[in-house]
């Protein structure tokens, strides 16, 4: 392994997304709580090992809370709305009689272990997928991801970056105007008037800023080479949107076993092809270059492949041994865990060891001691 492998740097954000989506797909294929918990453990370990000291990285905790809430809500709903599928009744609640028009809905009543477990497994699966998203958000710098967009989406990326930088400014000017409002004795008076007094100066401020930004962008060459004929734009737009729809249908069909098979792979591939053609035609017309683009180094491939690997292993085992991945709820028993899927899921932890640590945050002074290489 070359010495430069572990030099601190930020990994390509797309690599983290591929990895996280791979784990999410894997989580979608199983309800086995052991496997799902293993995936959660893998996610947490990698996030803690490889996240940078940045605001978005701190959001992982929020996703963890959200995941816990999801599990709680799923189980709670099973208890409240009809939890009697199965024979092992663990809780007897008085059933609340509902009027005739609400037939089919049951409120409270007997609660069976099977339905609570079903809710728990289901909730755990969803929670794991949410946690996967959280991991991707924590590990991939969202701004670098926008920069890594294909040239065809450059305008969208710029708009999003501008919008992101406008929000703190807007918050600041609301605060400032609100404070100034007090100086005019603004507390009294009707609500609407008070709102008016805050909104007008803030909007004026925002409008001024956007005009200044527009003139600055114009004089700095924005959109210099981006003049595309209307017909060409229509063509690329149609190609890309059709492609995206195709991909959506394909992905849905692939993940949901009950949809007809012909919707799965053919749609996915057709959508991808159309989308890529659209991207290329849009991209070739853009004469713009990119400063220090993120590149795919071996570490990125390792990360992405480990995620894909997890998904592939779970796909493969689900066709061989489905009961292991989806423990039976009709006969209560401890869910079993076999070696193959477990090892498959553990593949996902590789990035924690095989990727370089994140680059130092801007405040940190470079200190010689940071040169140690993780084992």
């Amino acid at each position: 392994m070359p010495a430069s492998w572990f030099l601190p740097r930020d990994l390509h954000p797309a690599a983290w997304w591929v990895w996280a989506l791979g784990l999410a797909v894997a989580a979608g294929r199983t309800t086995n709580p052991w496997l799902l918990l293993t995936i959660c453990a893998v996610l947490c370990h990698v996030v803690i090992a490889r996240r940078a000291d940045a605001p978005w990285a701190m959001a992982f905790r929020m996703y963890a809370y959200l995941a816990a809430v999801i599990i709680g809500v799923r189980v709670f709903f099973r208890i409240v709305f009809g939890g009697a599928e199965g024979s092992t009744i663990i809780l007897r609640l008085p059933e609340i009689p509902l009027p005739a028009w609400a037939a089919g809905i049951r409120l409270l009543g007997d609660v069976s272990a099977e339905s609570v477990l079903g809710g728990l497994y289901d909730g755990l699966r969803l929670a794991t997928m949410v946690l996967c998203l959280g991991a991707a958000n924590a590990l991939a710098n969202p701004k670098r991801l926008l920069k890594a967009m294909p040239p065809a989406l450059y305008e969208v990326g710029t708009a999003v970056i501008v919008a992101l930088s406008v929000f703190p400014q807007l918050a600041e000017s609301v605060q400032r105007v609100h404070r100034a409002r007090k100086l005019r004795g603004g507390a009294k008076g009707r609500r609407f008037r008070a709102l008016h007094a805050v909104i007008i100066p803030v909007l004026e401020d925002a409008l001024d800023r956007s005009l200044q930004l527009a003139s600055s962008m114009d004089s700095r060459g924005y959109g210099r080479a981006g003049v595309v004929r209307a017909r060409a734009r229509l063509l690329t737009g149609t190609l890309m949107i059709t492609g995206l729809i195709g991909i959506c249908v394909g992905v849905y069909a692939t993940l949901d076993g009950s949809t007809p098979r012909f919707l799965a792979t053919p749609f996915l591939i057709a959508g991808l092809v159309l989308g890529l053609i659209g991207f290329r035609t849009a991209g070739t017309r853009v004469r713009r270059s990119r400063y220090r683009p993120d590149r795919w180094h071996p570490a990125e491939f390792v990360t992405a492949l480990s995620g894909v690997g997890v998904a592939v292993v779970l796909f493969a085992t689900s066709s061989v041994d489905p009961t292991n991945l989806n423990p039976s709820l009709s006969t209560l028993s401890w869910p079993l865990l076999s070696w193959v899927p477990l090892v498959g899921v553990l593949l996902g932890v590789l990035p924690a060891f095989l990727t370089p640590p994140p680059a130092l945050p801007f405040e940190a002074e470079p200190v010689p001691e940071t040169e140690k290489v993780p084992a």
Binding site: G185, Q212, S216, G221, G223
Partner: protein, 534 residues
Amino acid sequence: MIELDRVSFWYHGQPDPVLADVSLSIGEGELVLVAGRTGSGKSTLLGTFNGLVPHFTGGHLEGTVSVEGVTTRERPPREFAHLVGVVGQDPLAGFVTDVVEDELAYGMEQLGLAPQVMRRRVEETLDLLGIAELRRRPLRTLSGGQQQRVAVGSVLTMHPKVLVLDEPTSALDPIAAEEVLATLARLVQDLGTTVVLAEHRMERVIPFADRMLYVPGDGSVTDGTPAAVLRSTPIAPPIVRLGRLAGWEPLPMSVRDARRKAGPLRDSLMPVAAEPAVEPGEPALSSSSVVVRYGPVVAVRGIDLDLRPGEVVAMMGRNGSGKSSLLWALQGSGPRQGGKVRAGGVDPAELPSAQARKVVGLVPQTASDLLYLESVAAECAAADAESGAGPGSCRGLLDRLAPGIDGGKHPRDLSEGQRLALVLAVQLSASPSIMLLDEPTRGLDYTAKAALAGMIGGMAAEGRAVVVATHDVEFVATVAARVVVMAEGEIVTDGPTAEVLGGSPAFATQVTKILGPGWLTVDDVAAALPQAVR
């Protein structure tokens, strides 16, 4: 380099042209200072250089503007990005990305330069502007001077032939402004870039300007060397006014030039009796050990300050030294964690805000935050209602502060100075006995500053205590009797203006630098001149 051939410009629906039949040519490597009152057409003139006027602003342009032989008629401003670099007043509003390095590269990405070229130019520019250590910093966390230097860098990376700066220092404190101007001087000296620069505080630029364009506001443009143009302009820095007063020929452009000629003048001046200080009476406002903190950051560190009726106090100190926090705390609307404030027997912080403003008035840094209605008349009526004053009292105050403002005008259409007068009138309608002004001189030209000085004098004559937080030494010398200098949330100096400003090189006015301590303003000197010379 830049050629204007009989250029006229007017906005649709306006009878008078902003520019009328202007012809001029700016050569390679020149540093050109553009001066004129606010709203006189300086920005319009600068905007024509890369076609922002009229492509972006609208309006009608006649004649030809060409840069390096390319006319702005055929091409939009973006096609001039590699020829003309434009830097605006508020750097933050012009930033597209959010990190220094990306911002420097943005323009080059639009030009489609090769990655190696971009990398090299970014590194060169970081060094040239001395901002290498900021490269990964988010733009919002930089100081004003640093932001403006990044803004300059972000157009320099495109290697433009001309750099156009529209009042690049008007939103900055003096130290930050020095930083930016020093950078510009270096660019002119080292790279030979042509620089066209509009600037209010021209005394800072005149020493190294080759040429000056004065825009009086009637559509014409006066062109010449700074010494020639400044001989007759109605706006002039103190050094030039002193030169005119003393009849020096040629007019001095720097403190050094003036000092060498100042000997005879200094000897002929007769010392005047110092004005009697305000007699110490009952303070209008007294405060003791005021503490303001934001979490772990201490903004004001136990300050004692008394204000007497009829006294004008200037509050100085670098940005972040706690001036604003102290003013807000004294007014009662801002946070205050400790200490006592008494004004008229009450603590304004304990009153509801409508009552507090009848005791202490405050004009915040962005004065226009207080205005939200569609016309001057509506603002005045609202102010009367809010203050419980008789109808027409705010309008009366406004007419005394700045006569002749049309009541039907939108507050945004007023000049900076007029808007400030309107906000002052709104705040005065509550007739507070203490008036606090937070950086009112920001973005004002010489004329507007003189008008503001008049307003402040009037308020003090009515027996109000006035506090002005400002960086502007010359302004302080004209209005204030007492100066308080703050640093790190503490008061460093508190004394009569002549002592505080005369005693330190950092706060000395231009006249003090030329004639020595004891002389603060040109008006002082004029008063002390022997009758014969006057």
